[in-house]
């Protein structure tokens, strides 16, 4: 029996989105083209234009899928979870092409005339929620402003992954993140929380 039309359309859209991510990840926005993406997705021109009318539309859809492109592991909220999430996103950047392409488009969007900070603000919201949980658990120092630090963290994280990408193709991302956290934690964590928190990589260095 044939699939219902709607279900098939959803699948085709997903196939196109994934193919677009692969092409944007490999060539950047400027080097990508609708025809390359059509070929990779193995869809007809009709199928493509039913879902997406332009390369910019495809880029916006990949960008908008940034949050849903990662399935964040569950766990008790708080500072340790914020750190673990940071390192989880690092491995997603290394292994998940949809997430990686989305982050690349978010960083390089200036080059194709966009200025949309939604993808950044969504991470500010996620980090902010975990910082509020950390506050409730008594893990934060009194003068930490949860929203301010969420903004700082998104900025620092973005730049650290850009630098790591250019310096090593992100091979050193976990090590750079460990260093970043080493110099951020003392300003936010109580001495008790600081003793209990663990950075996944180079933990011995942190303890030194």
């Amino acid at each position: 029996m044939a699939e219902p039309k709607q279900e098939r359309a959803v699948k085709t859209r997903e196939t196109i989105l994934y193919a677009a991510a692969e092409i944007f990840d490999a060539y950047g926005y400027s080097g990508a083209s609708i025809s390359k993406i059509m070929e990779r997705a193995d869809v007809t021109q009709g199928g493509m234009y039913f879902h997406f009318k332009s390369k910019l539309g495809l880029a916006k859809a990949v960008l908008a899928a940034q949050q849903e492109s990662v399935v964040i592991p569950e766990g008790p909220p708080g500072l340790q979870r914020l750190i673990d999430l940071n390192f989880f996103l690092a491995s997603e950047l290394q292994n998940n092409v949809l997430f990686r392409a989305s982050v690349r488009l978010a960083v390089e969007q200036g080059d194709f005339g966009m200025r949309d900070d939604t993808a950044y603000q969504e991470w500010v919201d996620q980090f902010h929620a975990l910082l509020c949980a950390a506050r409730e658990r008594g893990e934060l120092l009194p003068d930490v402003d949860e929203l301010e630090f969420a903004n700082v963290l998104v900025g620092c994280y973005s730049g650290t992954q850009v630098f790591s990408n250019i310096a090593s193709g992100r091979a050193d991302l976990q090590s750079r993140l460990t260093s970043m956290w080493r110099y951020l934690l003392p300003a936010i964590a109580t001495p008790k929380a600081l003793m209990e928190l663990r950075l996944p990589v180079d933990a011995q260095r942190l303890a030194a």
Copy 2:
């Protein structure tokens, strides 16, 4: 008397480089073209090709000029100078088109197929030298690794300016930098240095 040939060539090269920065700053790498740059610089095709053979060559020259595009104010080396330099670079990003274009190309270089971290490493070297001076002045906590923190700072700074650019066209850059330093300083500065250091913006907030 006519200018010597060599002197004229140096001037023409500078004129082209500045025009290229203006065009890259306005349109990004992908939206720029040799013909736009020639028109802005008001040079002939012969003059252009004597100095630069391709758009990529022009982008590389603008990128390579990142350090020389800013005249860093003198001052006694140490932590305060590192902070002041950070805020000086923020105003240069807002007002100096050659520096701004160079930073933009460094961030967006992935989109035109480059991966060159020289511009980042040069700032690591500059920051590292100031941190070594801060160490000599007794301003750093014992467990600070000067080179590690210089790398962290370049990453955090890069991302903070990217986020600020996308969120506000860099109007909020000084405020974001103040927040960033507020959460980095406690991990690196001795209590005595911390008391004496001043962030140029929102100083009252830091003191609160």
